[in-house]
């Protein structure tokens, strides 16, 4: 609570007429002690899998109240001579922006080719487990509760084949039975044998998703005894396929069950609508989220949802390839969305870059959620054949000026967004527990970027749910914070952005509002809890059943 002492004084500027809160994100990477360096396992062969690695997770692996960082890593591909053995990397948050490498001690140093990750308490034992999608078999690591993890993939039955390129993964309670199921997207059917090489003006380049066939998706139902059953076919998710990238699960149609949205690269996005019992029907086209407004399939990468205009409905935001705007789909209710990117300027400044990690985050705590987009090209030699873009790009910050309208403030938002890298996953949480949301970006072939939020302080409320009849994390629960003139909604979820996971604690910026009337929690099992007038500027922990 670094700044709370002077909080009231600092809030004075907010009262001035015409005041616009500022977002300030500072690059503190060097201070953190994190020396992880990502590898994509490449050696010049330009296998397509290299272009899509990797995601990361922010989660509290040791239940000490600090959010820790887990980076996925690539692995040597055919023809690559590795120096050492690359592996995923877990960093314990020691507080005060210091992190310690606990990879070996934790047992989370998986050496497979890591792509996507989701964390959640799948066995309802009070700690966070980890599911990883790989190029090759996926992995499930069970948290032993003592800071270590055990590989339980085989026993759980969730390896999801041996040769797929994994993508976004997510935990969700698809049937409201109180335990968490797993959804796993896949990219394309790449093998070393069907590898293709391409050229631009004689320069070598990576093939694209349309050079391969897309894969069907996988859904595992939790049997409640540490094992899972593959229900991809019977649930309906295997009926459609796409070159899957980011995944996010939420109640998009407000019918109190969890639906699944997958951003597909150039193959039209997928929206699996849940009937509440874990049966899904793909409906992205009619819902209006498969394509952009002009009916074009985009190179979708990261996906995120939040209520950007505070109308009580979860909108969708999708990052995309170069020469496509990052796209905001406004939820209009009744299962319909509309691409409002141009009207809201949610894609401003995004056209030139390839865009990956994404967050819909209220950086300035003004009760309107802003957008963060991590960028970077996949061709490291793009300067040889395209001067409209660059390999290492800055990040983009779009400030929500209210009502879901955005303004590009990237160049006024501190030195953090200016860091130029070829980013992939991005994750967001309050790493220093000071009441604002920080950011971590995984960069391809480089060290990560850690951004501390130094924006002007404003009131806020954090909410952490502990399920009882519902799953322990409260994943799928919808929280509504009523404060004066605004009702802010969010849902607890696991798996989001670009093949990443973060934000188990919900965060609500309140701006100048110094009082919250009530917090309503709609649990996935159907129960509703209401907390009246909770204290603000702190994390509120709500066990299911507490009034």
């Amino acid at each position: 609570m670094r700044l709370l002492v002077t909080f009231s004084a600092l809030l004075w500027p907010l009262l001035l007429p015409g005041f616009a809160a500022l977002i300030e994100l500072r690059n503190v990477t060097k201070e953190t002690g994190i020396n992880f360096v990502h590898t994509d396992g490449s050696a010049g062969n330009r296998y397509i899998v290299e272009t899509v690695a990797s995601g990361l997770a922010l989660f509290d692996y040791d239940n000490d109240g600090d959010v820790d960082i887990y980076f996925l890593n690539g692995a040597p591909l055919r023809g690559t001579k590795a120096q050492g053995t690359p592996r995923n990397s877990l960093w314990r948050n020691e507080g005060n922006w210091k992190f310690t490498d606990v990879t070996s001690a934790s047992g989370l140093g998986d050496e497979a080719y890591g792509l996507g990750v989701a964390t959640a308490d799948y066995d309802n034992d009070g700690d966070q487990d980890v599911y990883i999608s790989n190029f090759g078999p996926n992995k499930l690591y069970r948290n032993n509760g003592d800071g270590t993890f055990s590989d339980v993939t085989e026993k759980a039955g969730v390896s999801d084949g041996n040769t797929k390129i994994g993508a976004g993964v997510a935990f969700l309670d698809m049937d409201g039975d109180g335990d968490l199921d797993i959804f796993a997207a896949h990219y394309v059917n790449f093998t070393y044998d069907n590898h293709r090489s391409v050229r631009f003006n004689g320069h070598p380049a990576y093939a694209g998703p349309l050079d391969f066939q897309p894969s069907p998706f996988t859904l595992f139902r939790n049997n409640g005894n540490g094992t899972f059953t593959d229900v991809s076919s019977e649930s309906g998710v295997a009926k459609s396929r796409g070159a899957g990238m980011g995944v996010i699960c939420a109640d998009f149609d407000n019918d109190r069950d969890t639906d699944i949205f997958v951003g597909n690269d150039k193959t039209g996005n997928s929206l699996f609508v849940n009937d509440g019992k874990g049966n899904f029907k793909e409906n992205a086209g009619l819902a209006g989220v498969a394509y952009d407004l002009a009916g074009r399939a985009q190179g979708s990468m990261g996906v995120e949802c939040a209520d950007v205009d505070n109308d009580g409905l979860l909108d969708l935001f999708v990052t995309t390839y170069q020469q496509e705007l990052a796209t905001l789909f406004k939820n209009q209710g009744k299962g319909l969305f509309e691409d409002v990117t141009r009207l809201t300027k949610a894609g401003e400044g995004t056209l030139r870059y390839v865009k990956w990690g994404v967050g819909i985050v209220d950086f300035d705590n003004d009760a309107s959620r802003d957008l963060f987009i991590a960028c970077g090209h996949l061709h490291d030699n793009v300067h040889l054949f395209d001067s409209t873009t660059v390999y290492e790009s800055p990040s983009i910050v779009l400030r929500n000026t209210g009502g879901g309208k955005f303004q590009n403030v990237s160049e006024q938002a501190g030195d953090g967004p200016a860091v130029k890298r070829s980013a992939r996953g991005a994750a967001f949480d309050d790493l220093d527990n000071d009441g604002d949301i920080d950011a971590v970006i995984l960069n391809s072939r480089r060290e990560p970027t850690i951004l501390r939020n130094d924006s002007q302080p404003a009131h806020w409320l954090g909410v952490r749910l502990i399920g009882a009849r519902s799953n322990r994390d409260g994943i799928g629960a919808r929280v509504t914070v009523v404060a004066g003139d605004v009702s802010l909604v969010d849902e607890v979820r696991s798996g989001r952005g670009y093949q990443s996971d973060y934000g188990r604690r919900l965060h609500f910026g309140l701006g100048m509002r110094d009082r919250v009337e009530r917090v309503e929690i709609q649990w996935p099992g159907g129960r509703k809890d209401v907390i009246q007038e909770p204290a603000i500027d702190r994390l509120l922990t709500v066990p299911e059943g507490r009034e």
């Binding site: 293709r196 090489s197 391409v198 050229r199 631009f200 003006n201 004689g202 320069h203 070598p204 380049a205 990576y206 093939a207 694209g208 998703p209 349309l210 050079d211 150039k266 193959t267 039209g268 086209g285 009619l286 209006g288 394509y291 407004l293 002009a294 009916g295 074009r296 399939a297 190179g299 390839y321 170069q322 020469q323 209009q332 319909l336 509309e338 141009r342 009207l343 300027k345 401003e348 400044g349 995004t350 056209l351 030139r352 040889l384 054949f385 395209d386 001067s387 409209t388 873009t389």
Partner: protein
């Protein structure tokens, strides 16, 4: 996708078309191993293998890079020789753009406007370059200038509307599109999109329907119509349009995958370089350097067996310089590539006569009459040659 103005659309050299550069997944191609050598020099070298140690065949990638270097060199040489010639400078910009250097291209296009502010194509190209760089205000400015210079320029009209839509200026976009003399199917679709943004669903629906009248297979118009009908509560009709869209989309996706499988980037590079050589040659000829022009057109013909324009330029050049046998050869090649051009057959006849090939001339003039029965030149020439045959 909107394309750049073409090299053939250069103000002075003439007209024609070149597709847009695709710096995107769709532009990624698989290149077959090409056996055709880079240039005549390479052919000559291969004849000397018995005398010299065997040389290593350049890889297709090396060939492509060599061709691109040759292309840039040709345009740079032209611009260096005629630094104040706006065509030469504009053309150099096109080549930079073709090779992915849009920053360099913009510099040259701006210079071409300094030399001649009335260039519609340079304004249009600059506008589009700014559009791709997310700078919609500047794009709008250049498109407006292009339209001031040529109010009927359909590409600038459409692109201006696009730049306005990007800026959220839907009313202005509607005004531009509604005031256009005629709209393409894509123009009607964009109008539908603008109306959709404005929530004027009946007008959006009418625009999408107009797009489909203009092009019954415009999948994106079915998509727009499906969205508008869904917004209007017409679920069943929305589903019908969605089904139609999906079927068309599936077809085009399959075609796109097939194109990628068969994509021959070396062949495409050759076509592109041949086109540049043709255009550079045309600037040379306008500036009284026929030898330079001839050399480039010959190179173009060797690179691209399907390039009609370079062959036509060669034929005209040889015709004018009374090298009738060469002229006949190239006119005949043009006629083979474009058999419907009566003027080419007329010239085949005329050159044949110069070579005393009277029966061939008669056949050519008969073809002219067949292709253009209302043109007097064919009838007159045919009568003349038939008179000659009778004598």
């Amino acid at each position: 996708m909107i394309g750049y103005p073409t090299q053939h659309q250069m103000k002075k050299p003439g007209k024609g078309g070149r597709g847009p550069i695709r710096k995107h997944w769709l532009a990624v191609g698989i290149c077959a191993v090409a056996l055709v050598p880079v240039s005549l020099i390479w052919i000559n070298r291969s004849h000397d293998r018995r005398l010299n140690p065997p040389s290593v065949t350049p890889s297709p990638a090396d060939q492509e890079r060599a061709l691109r270097a040759e292309q840039l060199q040709a345009a740079e040489k032209l611009a260096a020789l005629f630094p104040d010639n706006d065509d030469a400078v504009y053309l150099l910009g096109l080549v930079h753009n073709e090779q992915g250097d849009s920053a360099g291209a913009m510099k040259h296009w701006e210079r071409s406007l300094e030399l001649d502010a009335s260039r519609t194509d340079a304004n249009d190209s600059l506008g589009y370059a700014f559009l791709l760089r997310d700078d919609y205000e500047k794009a709008e400015g250049y498109f407006r200038k292009a339209l001031t210079l040529d109010p009927k320029l359909a590409t600038a009209n459409f692109r201006l509307a696009n730049a306005l839509v990007h800026q959220g200026k839907m009313r202005e976009a509607v005004a531009i599109l509604e005031s256009a003399n005629s709209l393409s199917a894509e123009g009607h679709r964009l109008l539908g999109e603008a109306y959709q943004h404005l929530k004027e669903y009946p007008k959006a629906k009418a625009s999408y329907e107009s797009a489909l009248t203009a092009n019954t297979n415009l999948a994106e118009a079915y998509y727009g119509l499906s969205r508008v009908l869904a917004q209007s509560g017409e679920e069943d009709r929305s589903k019908e349009c969605w089904t139609r869209f999906s079927a068309l989309k599936s077809q085009t996706d399959q075609q796109a995958r097939q194109i990628r499988t068969e994509y021959d980037s070396l062949a495409i590079t050759k076509r592109s370089v041949a086109q540049t050589h043709t255009d550079v040659g045309r600037v040379y000829i306008l500036n009284q350097r026929p030898k330079d022009a001839e050399q480039l057109w010959l190179q173009a013909a060797a690179l691209d067996a399907g390039n009609t324009l370079c062959r036509l330029q060669l034929a005209i050049h040889y015709h004018q310089t009374e090298q009738h046998a060469e002229a006949l050869r190239y006119y005949q090649e043009v006629a083979r590539l474009d058999p419907g051009d009566a003027l080419v057959h007329l010239n085949i006849g005329r050159v044949s006569l110069k070579l005393n090939q009277v029966p061939q001339a008669e056949a050519a003039f008969k073809k002219v009459v067949e292709l253009a029965p209302n043109r007097p030149e064919g009838h007159a020439a045919l009568a003349q040659v038939q008179e000659m045959l009778r004598k």
